[in-house]
């Protein structure tokens, strides 16, 4: 049963998934190429100085890519379920609703994690060719919250879509926007630079706190349609 459910999800999102993966890899590879070009054209010490001071981040183009990916995947995966109430069928499968909802969400999270993991591996591996581990660690801690924000927005999209009541959707939607914002406090142009290096684990933990909330939405949906 679980297998067929996952297959159904795959059929639904496969083209989006492939498209998003391509966009992600394109951005990452373009960042890597720019970095290689910079090292061949500019004095290496200048690039070191900028990156070591956590300013003028060469990988800044990546910042909103996870966010956009999470948003799009969430919409593509869950909009058809809500449109013409197809989710009713999912919730009537011979399987606990909580299990089917969680597996749908986990499927999406898994797909995103897969893309982001490849992103991170390419970027960090490529960076470590040019930079010592101290600087690569700095890059890791900077892109981690960006990547997490992609998962956060995905989770909130799933919650909002499954939730039947519009007034609740609005408040949860705003809460989601606020939640995404706390993953993007790091770099503010023209202002102080903040770092997640002391609290990144907290922001990973938050994912586990918000992920099960889809069950609450599912519960509302079930009671709403009954």
């Amino acid at each position: 049963m679980l297998k067929s459910l996952i297959y159904k999800e795959w059929l639904k999102v496969r083209w989006t998934f492939i498209g998003l993966a391509l966009i992600n890899f394109f951005v990452i590879i373009s960042i890597c190429v720019s970095l290689a070009n910079a090292f061949s054209m500019v004095d290496a010490s200048k690039i070191y100085a900028d990156t070591a001071a956590m300013q003028g981040l060469f990988y800044f183009d990546f910042r909103y890519i996870p966010l956009i990916s999470g948003l799009l995947l969430g919409i593509v995966q869950f909009y058809p379920e809500i449109n013409s109430s197809r989710i009713k069928l999912t919730l009537h499968l011979p399987m606990k609703e909580s299990k089917s909802l969680m597996s749908m969400q986990l499927f999406g999270i898994g797909a995103l994690v897969l893309i982001f993991l490849v992103d991170a591996i390419i970027l960090l591996n490529f960076s470590s060719k040019y930079f010592p581990s101290e600087i690569v660690d700095g890059i890791t801690i900077t892109i981690l919250p960006w990547i997490l924000s992609g998962l956060v927005i995905y989770i909130f999209v799933t919650i909002v879509f499954v939730e039947p009541s519009w007034s609740r959707r609005v408040i949860i939607g705003f809460t989601g926007l606020a939640f995404v914002d706390v993953y993007h406090l790091g770099t503010i142009f023209g202002g102080t630079i903040y770092t997640y290096s002391r609290s990144w684990w907290m922001f990973v933990l938050f994912l586990f706190l918000i992920s099960p909330l889809i069950l609450w939405s599912g519960n509302n949906y079930k009671r709403g349609v009954k």
């Binding site: 290496a44 070591a52 606020a178 997640y196």
Partner: protein
């Protein structure tokens, strides 16, 4: 049943947390607290303080006897800082208090050094350029070698991304030779070549001892700085200035301020008070005649005027209305039970910074829960089964109202647990 309770609580926590970040932020953005601390200058002509009060549109310049001055009169009274304007109108005095005034000398002596709490609890550079302090060129040049002091002094060549073993061990040995304990806790310096000369880095080792490290003609220069007993350096501002009076200033764990004299490494303590390195803003404003130390704690300012030998001439203290004491602040203390922030003005580290402003909010919380109870009674909901939302509003006030409006966890009397969808 238990599972839904956990879900409800989780959702309430998420909504309340977000509301407690963004509602107060929005409130203070809408009703900003503008305040102007007095600005203080010392006039060598009056031999007294001049205080500028009010905002920039309606500034009033007063002396301590209450006489007010126009800005033109003011400039003539503080020639040591307003010299540019005085030269422009041809009224710069030749000597003031026996000190000869020439524009290059005045310029050389005019500077400001800041200690901001957010820069003290700040992001460290990941690696530092190892700048040559005695280049055989007219100006400093940016090096290819970058270093960090962890288990050893590690130098990396930025062109190849390889550790330079020979150089690393030479520097490590030079440090070990002077009793340095790895790894370094913190380093201070100006990793730039946009300065007249380079003084390298000042480093706190793992046992809180203080070292000066430079690269001179490609050889390590290491000097241990003798600190008074029990003094732990918290932050240093290294200032490579043509004046060459000092290497810089540092503040300590017990909130003292020291200057390290150039060449001799003598420590000169500046007798400051009311300073807390975790929250205050300290600035040293220097001119050819005086050193003025400003210490700002929120709404309070404390000023210390020192002569060039760092002896106190006079002090000044004043305060303006605190943000929380204004009407807007009072209203906020009633509406918002607490405020959550992920960033702080005193740190560059993102973390949870919760704050509570008094207990006025209890009144509003009780009123809100009362209104909610009234709503339940009027709409004929079962009160016994609505304990959770009542408790949420009672504890978290206005934030709780938002959470409860999403939860809608109330049931009709005698119903079978179906909510009012």
């Amino acid at each position: 049943m238990k599972k839904t309770l956990i879900l409800k609580l989780l959702l309430a926590i998420v909504i309340i947390a977000m509301a407690s970040i963004y509602l107060p932020e929005f409130y203070w953005k809408t009703f900003p607290h503008r305040y102007y601390l007095p600005r203080v200058a010392y006039s060598p002509i009056l031999n007294d303080l001049l205080i500028t009060k009010g905002d920039f549109k309606k500034a009033r310049i007063l002396d301590l006897n209450g006489n007010s001055y126009s800005s033109k009169e003011y400039e003539a009274l503080v020639p040591q800082t307003a010299f540019a304007q005085l030269v422009f109108i041809g009224q710069l005095p030749d000597t003031v208090n026996g000190v000869h005034f020439t524009v290059p000398e005045l310029r050389k002596n005019l500077f400001r050094i800041n200690f901001e709490s957010a820069e003290i609890d700040a992001i460290q550079f990941l690696m530092y350029p190892l700048i040559e302090s005695k280049p055989n060129r007219a100006s400093l040049s940016f090096p290819h070698e970058f270093f960090c002091i962890k288990r050893e002094f590690q130098v990396v060549d930025s062109r190849t991304n390889l550790v330079l073993d020979n150089m690393s061990s030479r520097y490590s040995l030079a440090l070990i030779d002077r009793g340095f304990k790895f790894p370094a806790k913190e380093m201070f310096g100006n990793p730039t070549t946009r300065k007249p000369f380079d003084e390298g880095y000042f480093v706190i080792d793992n046992e809180d001892k203080f070292y000066h490290i430079k690269r001179i003609e490609d050889e390590p220069f290491v000097r241990k700085i003798n600190l008074p007993d029990g003094v732990k350096v918290v932050h240093m501002v290294v200032a490579e200035r043509d004046l060459r009076e000092f290497y810089g200033f540092f503040v300590t764990e017990d909130n003292r301020l020291f200057m390290i004299e150039n060449n001799t490494y003598n420590l000169v303590e500046l007798p400051i008070s009311d300073y807390n390195y975790k929250t205050s803003l300290l600035s040293i404003n220097a001119d050819i005649l005086y050193r003025r130390v400003n210490i700002i704690n929120d709404n309070k300012i404390s000023v210390l005027i020192l002569d060039r030998n760092y002896k106190v001439i006079t002090t000044f203290k004043d305060s303006v209305t605190h943000k929380d004491e204004t009407t807007v602040g009072q209203v906020a203390s009633f509406i918002f039970p607490f405020t959550l922030q992920f960033t702080s003005v005193n740190s560059q580290y993102i973390n949870l910074y919760p704050s509570i402003n008094g207990f006025n909010f209890i009144i509003v919380n009780i009123i809100l829960s009362g209104l909610f109870l009234l709503f339940l009674i009027i709409r004929k909901f079962d009160i016994k089964s609505s304990i959770l939302p009542i408790a949420i509003i009672l504890v978290t006030g206005i934030y709780g109202v938002i959470a409860v409006s999403v939860l809608r966890d109330f049931k009709k009397k005698n119903s079978t647990g179906v909510s009012n969808e």
